[in-house]
């Protein structure tokens, strides 16, 4: 199911606000997602991620703001908008006393699928989540990772325009985690819009085309990973473990474009470089030309963790 609006976005939301008693859980959140784009909401526990996606998925009433999915206004009563959404909640939402096929068939029917179409799609999804061999076993007998995969499979059943995944890798072993991340990458490549919440920086960096940094119910910054990192104004530090004429080498390297600083250290040369990953070949070539022999390279890149620290004064996993 592929649907977009005149603006070309699958999801558009703005000014979302939600209070629970005196607690403002979400305050003015807004962003948009284009077809095929994977958007990450990155923030620590309690930042407002789950409340935001619950409102976007039509599970929660909002106090203010607008949400539209594929041009349909979303609210808890909106069945039209919900047809476009596949939700994978953070906590498992499956019947443990039913097997994978029964769980999938049940939710397929709730999405209006019937007969051969349903059976075929259930088989496809069982293949995607690699549970075909265990499809007839009760899901309570599955490992944690298998349950997570089934949880995701239900969200994929009706080929949603927008797939919402709420921290799908929490409590999952590394192998299953990697499998889940690969699946999400493939879905994005297939053109599905994905809204992915996580408090794992590495997942956001690996999966997301754009990222919104959320904390205390507000989006503190938004953009591609590079754009966000640039917000910090932080550059990469490149440490060359080297021997030879280090002084001449440092001087030569300091004249290269995007190299802001160079200094000789006890075991080599340290450089401060903008976008070091783009400049490394040039740096290594220049070092060789000046008679410096490089035995090792260590790059400390600016990352989202640093950005979050910069924006909020707190670590991402506090």
């Amino acid at each position: 199911m592929n649907s977009t609006t005149l603006t070309g976005f699958v999801l558009e939301c703005s000014g979302i606000r939600k209070k629970f008693g005196d607690l403002v859980a979400v305050d003015g959140v807004g962003f948009h997602i284009a077809p095929g784009e994977t958007y990450g909401l990155l923030g620590p526990n309690g930042a407002g991620k789950t409340t935001t996606i619950s409102i976007i998925a039509g599970l929660l009433e909002r106090d203010a703001g607008e949400v539209s999915i594929a041009g349909e206004v979303m609210n808890p009563q909106s069945t039209a908008a919900k047809r476009h959404v596949g939700l994978v909640p953070q906590d498992l939402a499956i019947y443990p006393d039913l097997d994978a096929r029964e769980n999938l068939r049940f939710f397929g029917k709730l999405y209006g699928m019937r007969g051969a179409e349903l059976n075929q799609r259930v088989d496809e999804v069982l293949e995607i989540i690699e549970l075909r061999d265990r499809a007839s076993d009760r899901s309570e007998e599955y490992s944690g990772g298998m349950k997570r995969r089934l949880n995701i499979g239900i969200g994929l059943l009706h080929r949603p325009t927008l797939l919402i995944l709420d921290e799908p890798t929490v409590g999952v072993d590394p192998q299953s985690r990697n499998a889940i991340l690969e699946s999400v990458e493939q879905l994005g490549e297939q053109g599905m819009a994905v809204l992915y919440t996580t408090h794992y920086m590495e997942e956001a960096e690996r999966l997301c085309d754009r990222i919104g940094i959320i904390d205390q119910g507000t989006i503190r910054a938004e953009g591609t990973q590079q754009e966000l990192v640039q917000l910090v104004g932080q550059r990469d530090r490149v440490r060359l473990v080297a021997t030879g004429n280090l002084t001449a080498g440092a001087a030569a390297l300091g004249n290269l474009a995007d190299v802001d600083e160079s200094a000789v250290t006890a075991d080599g040369i340290d450089l401060i470089v903008k976008a070091a990953h783009n400049r490394l070949p040039e740096i290594l070539a220049a070092a060789t030309r000046t008679g410096v022999s490089v035995a090792g390279v260590d790059v400390d890149t600016a990352n989202l963790e640093a950005l979050f620290l910069h924006l909020t004064g707190r670590a991402l996993r506090e």
Binding site: L87, Y95, L98, K109, Y111
Partner: protein, 389 residues
């Protein structure tokens, strides 16, 4: 269709737990059959009869007892066999005629008949019949003895004359006229009334236990996920309620048919009785869904279900007949009608006691439908509030 899908999965999960089959289907049926048997069911009470030395007088007593409608007389050879049969519950009571019964009476002496029963206070129907038959024979004997003393011949001749005179004399007739409405259940057996109240009690009680299934779905996060699909809260509740309704209907029909076939319970027009049953099952399902939306965990749903199931049954006449409540106090009777039980029982009473048709029970069905609508509406409102606010 989505409601059917939800009901289908709910039933699948229900039947997957074998203990549910026992508690919801077998247990009530076994209980109804067991209690029905204890109540005597459809068969007449049985009276054992033993005459140690059979003679004309004991034979006359036996004939007199056998002529009475309402119980069966079984002859035993010995006193011990009669008592053993009573103790084993093979018969409800026994009457033992001592040896020399006739000769003692003919000699003008006294004698005693021994009446044996397991019930502490005897069995009212049998007691009355025995006293009546014995009194009639005593009257004949006293008349014969008096005639003998007055020189009317031997005791045997006098007895024959007295018996003949009793037959030829016209009996004194007592003419009864009724005033006011007849008591609807007067013509029904105890088990007929009891079956109606038991059916209503069990349907509501066991259906309320189904609230736990909705709570469990909520706890698994599945109900919330259903709401994330293009499925309304109303449909979710309706689907869950539909599964409870199916279970209640099957349970009700099993009890209904079982009591009808085994004990000959009178349910009036069977189709209309099934209609009342179906409507009450819908009300029970609505109540279960409301409870499932309100309760915060399985245990709470279970205990509240038991409390309301038994409490409303007691209040609504499913434990004490409504007629008894009416005699007790008009206020109590009015309060009883807060419950759907009272209206369902009145509908059954109309069908069974007055041979009522659809027109007579339509009002009761409408009131029950009102209960169902209110319960489902409140349940939907509550579930929506729990899930989306």
């Amino acid at each position: 269709m989505k409601a059917v899908a939800i009901a289908e999965v709910s039933l699948r999960r229900f039947f997957r737990d074998r203990s549910n089959i026992f508690s919801v289907f077998l247990f009530p049926v076994i209980l109804v059959l067991l209690l029905g048997s204890m109540q005597g069911g459809a068969s007449n009470p049985r009276l054992g009869f033993n005459a140690e030395t059979p003679d004309d007088l004991s034979a006359g007593l036996l004939d007199g007892l056998e002529a009475v409608d309402g119980f069966v007389v079984i002859e035993y050879d010995t006193e011990a066999a009669t008592i053993r049969a009573v103790e084993r519950g093979e018969i409800e009571a026994g009457l033992i005629v001592p040896a020399g019964f006739a000769s003692a009476l003919q000699a003008g002496g006294d004698t005693e008949l021994r009446y044996v029963s397991r019930a502490k206070d005897g069995l009212q129907g049998i007691d009355t019949a025995i006293r009546s038959v014995v009194a009639r024979q005593s009257t004949l004997l006293r008349t014969a003895r008096f005639a003998e003393q007055q020189g009317a011949g031997s005791f045997e001749n006098a007895l024959a004359m007295a018996a003949e005179a009793q037959i030829s004399l016209p009996p004194v007739e007592v003419v009864a006229t009724s005033s006011g409405e007849p008591f609807a259940l007067a013509g029904l057996g105890q088990f007929d009334i009891w079956s109606q109240t038991t059916l209503v009690l069990f349907i509501f009680l066991t259906t309320l236990q189904g609230a736990a299934a909705l709570v469990q779905s909520r706890r698994y996060g599945v109900t919330r996920r259903m709401i994330s699909t293009p499925t309304s809260v109303r449909t979710v509740l309706f689907g869950e309620g539909l599964s409870r309704l199916a279970i209640a209907l099957v349970q009700g029909i099993v009890v209904f048919v079982g009591t009808w076939l085994i004990f000959g319970v009178d349910w009036g027009n069977p189709l209309l009785a099934l209609l009342v049953l179906a409507m009450f099952a819908i009300v029970s399902s609505g109540a279960a869904m409301l409870l499932g939306a309100v309760a915060s965990n399985d245990q709470q749903a279970g205990s509240l279900g038991t409390m309301f199931g038994l409490g409303l049954a007691a209040l609504g006449g499913a434990m004490f007949p409504l007629a008894a409540l009416e005699f007790l106090s008009t206020t109590v009777w009015r309060v009883a009608h807060i419950t759907p039980h009272a209206w369902a029982l009145e509908a059954f009473e109309e069908l069974v006691g007055y041979n009522g048709g659809f027109a007579e029970i339509a009002g009761f069905l409408a009131i029950l439908a009102g209960y169902a609508v209110v319960f489902f509406a409140l349940g939907t409102w509550r579930l929506r509030a729990v899930l989306t606010r």
